[in-house]
């Protein structure tokens, strides 16, 4: 305190006063990189190192296993059903929430996040309680010979639950930031509702939609806990890629497990790449528009809450 006023602020000293000494600087960078290296890059490297441990041919052979192919097909099928449904839900929810004022709006926004607060195991459990053989609708389903639990419909339902907020969470802040002026102009000029949506709204949110879809797809394909509870682990029938990874790993078939895991890892990396691209696009758009028109970093802001779950 006593030495407080001894500093004489000379112009070239000002930036120095708000920076750390270089030792501290490099120490902090070192800590951060060591932490990230240990927790991010090492596991990433481990996936590929283990997958290729016995060489490329052993790696490729893992995909000739009919069970692995069935698992990949089931995962693709699940994503093909889940992603479009959640996309429609996301757009509808964002349209209602971002473009209109109504009572209970903040409650609805909080509710949409609900699946993130639920453990994936519980997301599976609730469908077992509803549709399982000893569940509420179990006897009725059994009498009509409809299988949901330990079958594909259960896997789809559990995945729907887990990934349902993803597109909505991406679009709500984006559409709120864009306001309603452009749509109003279109309507006043005589456009129909759908015309307004496809020609005015959609071009504005296309990058957000794209990222939401990619994110939803990645999470749908990578879901493990919820799917594990409802699948029944029937090889070739109800095994998704992640469940197949688990089975192979538990059988000590490490190359096979990590080979399938490497596909999922590539998917994760593509998702991160898409996120970076979308952020870059939105930032460019906002600078083109001359500043604060669009939200500067909508993806970064929503991401932490958006990808919870399993």
């Amino acid at each position: 305190m006593a030495t407080a006023s001894i500093h004489i602020p000379v112009a070239h000293q000002v930036p120095r006063a708000t920076a750390e000494p270089w030792v501290v600087r490099w120490l902090l960078i070192g800590f951060a990189l060591a932490f990230l290296g240990l927790f991010l890059f090492l596991p990433l490297a481990a996936v590929f190192a283990q997958a290729f441990e016995r060489g490329v041919s052993a790696y490729l052979a893992s995909f000739r296993d009919p069970d692995a192919q069935a698992a990949i097909r089931l995962t693709l099928l699940t994503a093909a059903i889940v992603v479009p449904l959640n996309l429609v839900f996301g757009i509808a929810a964002a349209w209602a929430i971002a473009k209109f004022e109504f009572r209970g709006k903040s409650v609805l926004i909080t509710l949409i996040d609900l699946p993130f607060a639920v453990s994936p195991v519980i997301s599976g459990l609730i469908y077992v309680l509803l549709f399982g053989l000893r569940g509420w609708l179990g006897p009725w389903l059994d009498a009509h010979d409809i299988k949901i639990i330990f079958a594909v419909p259960g896997i789809v339902l559990a995945t729907l639950f887990v990934t349902c907020p993803l597109v909505a969470r991406e679009l709500i802040p984006l559409m709120q930031a864009q306001g309603t002026e452009e749509e109003e102009a279109a309507v006043v000029l005589g456009a129909h509702g759908w015309q307004t949506f496809f020609r005015v709204t959609l071009p504005n949110i296309k990058w957000g939609v794209l990222y939401g879809v990619i994110l939803c797809n990645a999470r749908a394909m990578g879901e493990f806990g919820a799917v594990s509870v409802v699948s029944g682990h029937i090889r070739g029938l109800t095994n998704t890629m992640t469940l197949h990874v688990e089975i192979l790993y538990n059988e000590y078939n490490f190359v096979g497990a990590f080979a399938v895991a490497s596909l999922l890892t590539l998917l994760a990396l593509v998702t991160l790449g898409a996120k970076t691209l979308v952020e870059w696009q939105t930032r460019r758009r906002s600078t083109d528009a001359g500043g604060d028109e669009a939200e500067p970093k909508p993806v970064a802001v929503t991401a932490p809450v958006a990808v919870t779950g399993e």
Binding site: A4, H7, A17, T18, R25, A32, L36, L40, P43, A46, V47, Q50, W95, A96, E101, I112, P115, V118, S119, P120, V121, I122, L125, L129, L130, W136, L160, F161, C164, T180, E183, E184, V187, H192, G193, T196, L215, A218, G222, E223, G225, S228, V229, T242, V245, F254, F258, A261, L264, T265, L267, A268, L272, G273, T276, A300, A303, A306, T308, E310
Partner: protein, 282 residues
């Protein structure tokens, strides 16, 4: 925002009924009704049954591990996450943008993949496990392994909540502190840190909440020994596999109550954060 303009516009745009109707129907069918079924199922249990199901010794041991490891994981993330956020915002170094993008990896990587990758690294013959073995430190198949997995999956939260606050921080207040004679360390602890607290607390709570329900990455590295390395979500699965639906439901309700309490806390924290730091441009 001008309230008058808002209330006029709501009648101009079409599609509110359709969008809202679809949203509510879909959400009720996929989320609310199934969750309601869970709560309804517990009302069928007597209080005594419920209580003995959720306080059995094996269950209590799983709470201790789940909550304890989640807490430690979130704490590690609070410390290192703030350092990572600080370094990413303030310093320039090679590959910074790539590293920044990679912080979200735990969001995108399937948890089962993370689980087997971490296990292979920390097993006694793994890259790190091998180095730790001479010191007789075991990570995989011990509570330490659970902490490692939960640290991994919670890693992005603190970074991503603290980072935007640091970016928005006015350089002027730091300059003011410095020109008033504060040492750099004083500026950091008395000027910058107080601004970060709400974001840091939110990030911590998010990481903690996420870790509580985590299943995929933990089951591989934990070893799953009853009373020792069994997390509560796994116990739910085990009960379900034994067709003990009531027991599984009781545990699920306990976990749900814990996560909803956290969700509420996070909402309050975010409100606190936005009151301290009004969003720019509003």
């Amino acid at each position: 925002m001008s309230g008058a303009a808002q209330s006029r516009t709501r009648r101009i745009l079409p599609g509110f009924g359709l969008a809202m109707g679809f949203t509510l129907t879909y959400f009720c069918l996929i989320v609310l009704i199934p969750l309601g079924a869970l709560v309804l199922k517990t009302t069928g249990m007597s209080w005594g049954d419920f209580w003995s199901a959720v306080t059995a010794p094996r269950v209590l041991a799983s709470y201790k591990l789940t909550f304890g490891a989640s807490f430690v994981g979130a704490l590690i993330n609070a410390v290192f996450g703030s350092i990572v956020a600080w370094v990413l915002v303030r310093y320039r170094f090679p590959l910074r943008k790539l590293i920044d993008a990679m912080v979200d990896l735990p969001f995108a990587l399937p948890t089962a993949v993370a689980g087997i990758a971490l296990t292979s690294i920390y097993a006694t013959n793994g890259w790190i496990g091998r180095l730790l073995e001479p010191a007789s430190i075991k990570v995989a198949f011990t509570p330490l392994g659970v902490i490692v997995a939960l640290t991994f999956i919670g890693l992005p939260y603190v970074v991503r909540t603290v980072q935007p606050v640091l970016e928005d921080l006015d350089a002027e207040i730091e300059e003011a502190a410095a020109s008033l004679g504060a040492r750099r360390w004083q500026t950091v602890t008395r000027v910058i840190l107080p601004e970060l607290w709400p974001a840091l607390a939110t990030g911590f709570a998010l990481a903690f909440a996420r870790a509580l329900g985590e299943f995929g990455s933990v089951v591989f590295i934990a070893g799953n020994m009853p009373m020792k390395t069994e997390i509560t979500p796994l116990l739910i699965v085990i009960k379900l596999e034994q067709f003990d639906y009531a027991g599984a439901t009781a545990l699920a309700v306990v976990m749900l109550v814990a996560s909803f309490a956290l969700l509420l806390l996070i909402n309050l924290l975010q409100r606190w954060a936005s009151r301290l730091r009004p969003v720019h441009g509003d």
